[in-house]
Subunit: 140 residues, 2 copies
């Protein structure tokens, strides 16, 4: 797998979009800080770019498949899509609120595909969230 940054540039080029400082900043923030709320993302970027640009950039990124939205808890979160990091699902702790990635499970993936096909559905992508208590919060 090539460098994520390089891949971003190529993806932008493929869509005839400019490679700008703002886009790099948002991308890097997403790369470094896992799934984030938009508010968090804005906080990470606001030293160099405007709120409105963060909105515009993430909307753009989503439309070209660079980021995906997760509805986790009350607010949605954004993370890089499977093209930029390994496909995974999420464990959401209802007590402490943290969201962690779940290792990929081929058997699970297959069941999902099979279930969709059984209804004549052509699956393109999917999202799984398991809510419960993380190891730490079970102890407490």
């Amino acid at each position: 797998m090539e460098e994520p940054q390089v891949k971003l540039v190529k993806t932008l080029a493929r869509h005839r979009l400019s490679n700008t400082a703002a886009r790099t900043t948002v991308f890097t923030a997403l790369l470094e800080h896992g799934p984030v709320t938009l508010a968090e993302l804005i906080r990470y970027c606001e030293a160099s770019i405007d709120r409105a640009s963060v909105y515009r950039t993430t909307a753009l990124f989503e439309s070209i498949g660079v980021v995906q939205r997760l509805q986790i808890g009350w607010k949605y979160r954004l993370e890089l899509s499977d093209d930029f990091q390994h496909h995974h699902h999420h464990l959401h702790c209802l007590s402490c609120g943290t969201v962690t990635a779940m290792p990929e499970d081929p058997a699970l993936e297959n069941r999902l595909k099979a279930a969709a096909k059984a209804k004549g559905f052509l699956p393109q992508d999917h999202q799984v969230e398991i809510r419960g208590l993380c190891a730490n919060c079970q102890a407490a």
Copy 2:
């Protein structure tokens, strides 16, 4: 299975929460109108209760497992949890926007539980959304 309304009262009691008119109203609205956006829910209730109370009630309901949030497209929707209606997952057609329920698949359910436990996580509930094209839209 007993009457949903009765079950709600019991659930509230179990959590030492009052059984109030506002909570009954919100619950009934959810029971009658499938998965709804918060804006819709407010519209259904605003004749008798305040916007702020709808927010407070749904947040409470979510915390005690009476309602769950679904990601359908960009906005979330609320529906009664599996304790109040049959457990199911969602197929979301990206072309026509319809959302249909997926038949329960025990093998899939088991994989999900196993995956969570492998991380020391205590699963309470989960949610799956598969996005793609429904049978109709594939033809078109």
